[in-house]
């Protein structure tokens, strides 16, 4: 297996600061979402990306506003990273009318077409072929849009993954398959049920793709490697698959404490937390502590404001219940 290691490149300082701000905002958003769950404002399930922020921030920075994101149920971070404001996302988690989908989708289905967030999908693997379809449409219409589909390490053993990879390769589609390998499915270690060591990368060659493994806790590396894959896709050279090693700090969902994971493993990965690491890198490169503190204060205020704005939203009623099954806006199935 050929693994591509990339030295962090010199993207400009402003962009790095923006990527730091994005990662920090994702962390603060998710932390607040967890609190809101404990306070019973968030009722259903939710899957947090705490620990995996470098991926969402790094990939989004490499995308153009016209490109498309296809996320999983663990999709808060990918949605926000594309520029969706916090308020409608909090409100969606709380089931309010000011939610991103007025409460009709919930945490697992965040979608904002105007931001290129083409849905969050809660059936493992399903969105990979759907991302292929968006990529096909870009190819057909001759735009240079690119689709990025995120998925977990546990998603590589389902049929849709393999169908999508082959399909994208034979049609040379502008799509990036991005595996966030956080080592665990729900409560089972992916390596216990997977025939290869690197769940995505070791399958790449079966579809004629390069095997690419990166440090998913390094936003610069994520940005660089994704930028290259996107450039390739835009140039008509077809799909890429990237496997990023990372770790979720918390449990799989909601109140799962994640106790099934060994303490040493958690400690090892907490030491590789992408956010303090990136912060340190910025300081070492000459960004001032005060600038970072100011950014952090700004983000914290934004999270507070968004929380309150979301809580102020209305409770959806009958009008929304029977709306938008069909393109005519209604739900009628008979005359």
């Amino acid at each position: 297996m050929a693994s591509t290691k990339v030295a962090p490149a010199q993207s400009d300082v402003a962009q790095k600061i923006a990527m730091y701000k994005s990662q920090f905002a994702l962390r603060q958003f998710e932390t607040r979402a967890y609190d809101l769950f404990l306070e019973n404002y968030v009722k259903g399930t939710s899957h947090l990306s705490i620990g995996q922020e470098a991926i969402a921030a790094g990939v989004a920075a490499a995308m153009r506003p016209t490109d498309w994101t296809f996320a999983t149920y663990r999709g808060h971070a990918h949605t926000l990273a594309r520029g969706v404001p916090m308020t409608p996302v909090f409100a969606e988690l709380m089931g309010r009318t000011n939610g991103l989908m007025a409460g009709k989708g919930g945490s697992m289905h965040l979608t904002s077409v105007e931001h290129g967030v083409m849905g969050s999908y809660a059936i493992i693997g399903a969105h990979l072929p759907i991302a292929c379809g968006a990529a096909w449409s870009a190819q057909y219409r001759g735009t240079d849009q690119v689709a990025v589909a995120f998925f977990g390490d546990g998603s590589v053993n389902i049929g849709a993954f393999h169908e999508a990879l082959n399909f994208a390769a034979v049609w040379k589609l502008p799509v990036i398959f991005f595996c966030e390998n956080n080592l665990w499915m729900e409560y089972t270690r992916t390596s216990d049920v997977t025939a290869v060591v690197n769940p995505a990368a070791d399958r790449a060659s079966a579809y004629g793709l390069e095997s690419i493994i990166i440090d998913g806790n390094d936003a610069d590396e994520v940005y660089e490697v994704t930028s290259r894959a996107i450039a390739r896709a835009r140039a008509g050279d077809g799909p890429s698959m990237i496997e990023a090693k990372t770790y979720r700090h918390g449990g799989h969902s909601r109140a799962d404490p994640g106790k099934y994971r060994p303490a040493e493993e958690i400690a090892e990965w907490m030491a590789k937390d992408p956010i303090p690491r990136y912060r340190l890198r910025l300081l070492e490169s000459g960004v001032s502590e005060s600038e970072l503190l100011e950014i952090e204060a700004q983000v914290n205020a934004e999270v507070d404001d968004a929380t309150e704005a979301a809580k102020a939203g209305g409770v959806p009623g009958e009008d929304l219940l029977m709306k938008d099954v069909w393109a005519d806006g209604g739900a009628a199935w008979r005359n």
Binding site: K104, H109, G133, R141, E163
Partner: protein, 325 residues
């Protein structure tokens, strides 16, 4: 005017729409160079080229996923699932993704796509290539379900399905592929959700779908010689369902017989029956009777398959018995 088979009408309907709208594209297994395993798409590749008519790998999830992704970003794809039994390997994309995503996103997305598929028995293909699955599709909120019964309707309903902004499951009765009909020249565009009264009688109303429509008509013909005059309604579209026409025609005769190819449980006729019982119960002069395939997987042997799917003879005797009891 030309005489066309049901299968030739499929290609004609698709071609009609591909000529007028660049965003219409077509994908499926063996649909291009081979013209489809049922020869329903002959000539499309030659006319529209490999960019618009694309052969795919044997990957039903990829086919329908691709159709969905293309539809949400501005194309109007037509996807073929060779045999409708194969929906079972890609049902997630149909039932969870395509059908639910408009609602879940509060109307942010539309899915103007058509999934066409060879449906039902009569070809002695055995249980995994013969089921009538219209009831699978009908029970999913967010899918329209269209089932034409003749060559002219194939063209008009295909056009209407392609132009519709919602996902349409378009089921083609395999046993009708070689049936022929005079088809007018020029574009034909029909309306979804409109049933058709094909025959008017005063004694009983037969409500039929797809391959059961010609059988219901033949049965009505035979019953007429015995003094039982039947109305025959071709449902044509299960979703949206033209209940107005069905209720009117059932009220007029006071009797309802559904003729369904799907296995019995939860067949579309059960829904029609329930609507009739709810809304025009006091117009009925006798019991509602459903004539269906029994609740079994379809056998392969011609003798057995013919016993299973409602035949003209079974329709006639069932109605006769019920009307004279």
């Amino acid at each position: 005017m030309a005489q066309l088979t049901f299968r030739e009408s499929i290609a004609r309907g698709i071609a009609q729409e591909m000529r007028r709208d660049e965003s219409v594209v077509f994908l499926g297994e063996d649909v291009g160079a081979a013209g489809g395993v049922f020869k329903g798409t002959v000539g499309l590749l030659e006319e529209f080229g490999g960019i618009r008519v694309r052969d795919t790998p044997i990957s039903e999830q990829a086919i329908l996923g691709a159709a969905m992704g293309a539809a949400m970003t501005g194309l109007r794809p037509i996807a073929e699932i060779m045999f409708s039994d194969f929906f079972a390997v890609c049902w997630d994309i149909v039932a969870n993704e395509i059908a639910k995503s408009r609602y879940m996103t509060n109307g942010q997305m539309s899915f103007p796509l058509v999934i066409r598929s060879g449906n039902g028995g009569g070809l002695r293909f055995g249980a995994q290539h013969s089921q009538s699955v219209e009831n699978w599709a009908m029970m999913i909120p967010g899918l329209k379900v269209v089932v034409p019964s003749n060559a002219v309707d194939v063209i008009g309903l295909m056009a209407a399905s392609i132009r519709d902004n919602d996902p349409v499951v378009f089921l083609e009765a395999k046993s009708l592929y070689s049936s022929k009909m005079d088809v007018p020249d020029g574009d034909i565009v029909d309306t979804l959700g409109s049933a058709k009264v094909l025959r008017q009688g005063s004694d009983a109303t037969l409500v039929a779908l797809g391959a059961m429509v010609p059988r219901a008509l033949d049965a009505a013909e035979e019953l007429a010689t015995n003094g039982i005059n039947c109305t025959v309604v071709d449902v044509r579209s299960l979703v949206p369902l033209d209940t107005a026409t069905i209720l009117r025609e059932v009220s007029a005769t006071g009797r309802l017989f559904t003729v369904e190819e799907n296995p019995r449980l939860c067949g579309w006729g059960a829904e029609v029956t329930s609507i009739v019982a709810d809304e025009v119960f006091y117009d009925l002069d006798g019991p509602i009777v459903r004539i269906t395939t029994p609740h079994i997987p379809l056998p392969a042997a011609d003798a057995l398959e013919d016993l299973a799917i409602p035949s003209v003879e079974r329709i006639v005797t069932t109605i006769h018995k019920s009307m004279n009891s």
